[in-house]
């Protein structure tokens, strides 16, 4: 058996075909609430159970517990607020109303409004991001972009944001069947937003030595300028796995989600999402989900100590590097040589080499992966 969903039950909040047709046909009669891409992806993740046990956006009691205790009001570990905000002008409905959540003209879900409440933005950012510095993108979003009220309530999914990568998307209920079909009892989750270099491959394969399978789960969402495009990352992973991973030990599938860059708290959230997909283990890297210099390099690993009941085992890695003396890819604990013999994996180096169309040594990037990256005239966002 793969892992038990977070909170004990896999949530599925998807409208029946009949209900969906009725809602879409009468969309104009609903009170409509426009949401952004982050909330649109959150709606999808709630509907398909990626955020189990959440069945909607958080009410004030849950938000309070999440901010102060890093748990839901049911005591289940939860670190990232899943919320939808409105401005005074958008607050045209009351508790008890049904509103339609609409993204970019697409009606996505019906929400039963259970709570409309104000919140303390300063407390929010200090708890979630451990800073109130608006140069942190998550802090900026809360302080400058979010409305002054939050709306909580259960949702029912009627549609999702168009997905150009739907053939790479599996819902938790599907990954759970897949892992079972493969006979995996232990599965390690790997989160990524990058094209794979050898450092990633070694982390994954080292973890894989101890479990039955690996679930490589790239996050598709808004990217920073200079990041690899989603299709490039997916193509690169497909090539890597085809050439270097036994077919029955690895699964590649995406999740659509907007990063919060909340460092340690977000690492816990990432682990919970993968637990719901069926993972028993989750790889937590250096400065996981961090941004700038806001978090210590291993803070995202240390926070796991506070959750004896998380139900997914974190797997911690230090940095891998290539050592000329060792003649291979190693890490601190197994290589006695000095820094002058070591070549560190650097995303910036890879990006620059690709931009200049330079050859990248095979101990940094597999030639098959390099070929994919070079085959795109403009592989960057």
């Amino acid at each position: 058996m793969v892992s038990r969903p977070h909170g004990g039950r896999l949530v599925v909040r998807v409208a029946s075909e009949n209900r969906r047709e009725r809602v879409l046909a009468s969309a104009a009669e609903y009170i409509q609430l426009k949401i952004g891409l982050r909330e649109a992806y959150d709606v999808e993740n709630i509907g398909y159970g990626v955020y189990s046990p959440l069945d909607g956006f958080m009410v004030s009691e849950d938000l309070e517990h999440v901010l102060l205790d890093m748990r839901l009001s049911s005591d289940i570990p939860w670190t990232i607020p899943i919320i939808v905000s409105v401005t005074q002008e958008e607050k045209t409905f009351d508790v008890g109303d049904e509103v339609l959540l609409v993204y970019d003209g697409h009606p996505l879900a019906v929400m039963q409004v259970e709570d409309i409440y104000s919140y303390d933005k300063k407390l929010y950012v200090e708890k979630v991001f451990k800073t109130s510095d608006p140069s942190h993108p998550g802090v900026y979003n809360v302080l400058r972009e979010m409305g002054e009220y939050l709306v909580g309530g259960r949702i029912e999914l009627v549609d999702t944001v168009p997905n150009p990568y739907s053939k790479y998307y599996l819902r938790p209920i599907e990954t759970r069947v897949l892992f079972r079909e493969r006979g995996w009892r232990t599965v390690v989750g790997f989160q990524t937003r990058n094209a794979p270099h050898m450092g990633h491959e070694y982390v994954q394969k080292t973890a894989l030595s101890f479990v039955d399978g690996i679930f490589i789960n790239p996050v598709i969402g808004r990217k920073k300028k200079g990041d690899f495009k989603d299709e490039v990352i997916l193509e690169a992973y497909t090539e890597l796995m085809r050439n270097y991973y036994p077919r029955d030990t690895a699964v590649l599938s995406i999740v659509r989600y907007e990063m919060r860059y909340a460092g340690p708290r977000e690492a816990i959230h990432h682990a919970i999402m993968r637990k719901n997909f069926g993972c028993t283990h989750f790889i937590v890297g250096r400065d996981h989900a961090g941004v700038g210099g806001f978090y210590g390099p291993y803070e995202a690993q240390e926070i796991f100590k506070e959750f004896p009941d998380l139900g997914v085992t974190p797997v911690f890695f230090r940095e891998f590097f290539y050592c000329r003396k060792c003649g291979g890819i190693v890490h601190e604990k197994i290589c006695p040589h000095g820094e002058e013999h070591r070549i560190r994996f650097s995303g910036t180096y890879v990006r620059n080499a690709i931009k200049k169309r330079e050859d990248i040594p095979p101990y940094i990037i597999r030639p098959e992966v390099a070929r994919v990256l070079l085959s795109h005239p403009d592989p960057f966002v």
Binding site: M1, R4, P5, G8, R9, L10, V12, E64, H65, L68, D69, D75, K167, L170, I173, E174, R176, V177, L178, R180, E181, R182, V251, P308, D309, L310, G311
Partner: protein
Amino acid sequence: MTTGKYTTVSIPKSLYNRIKKLVEETGFKSVSDYVTYVLREVVAMHESEKYEEPFGEKDLEEIKKRLKALGYI
């Protein structure tokens, strides 16, 4: 700062003293912190024993069909 919502549970005084001694040598702030930590660990373990996958035979066939079509199985 926490929500500060607590209740009281009774444990034998002797056990309390025993934990107090242990807590002094660990990173826990208090006996209550230690007890909360241990209880969460044990409760989660017991909860995880009762779980059934959320799909019936019919769903299973549908899901397998999609997984096959996408080349996953």
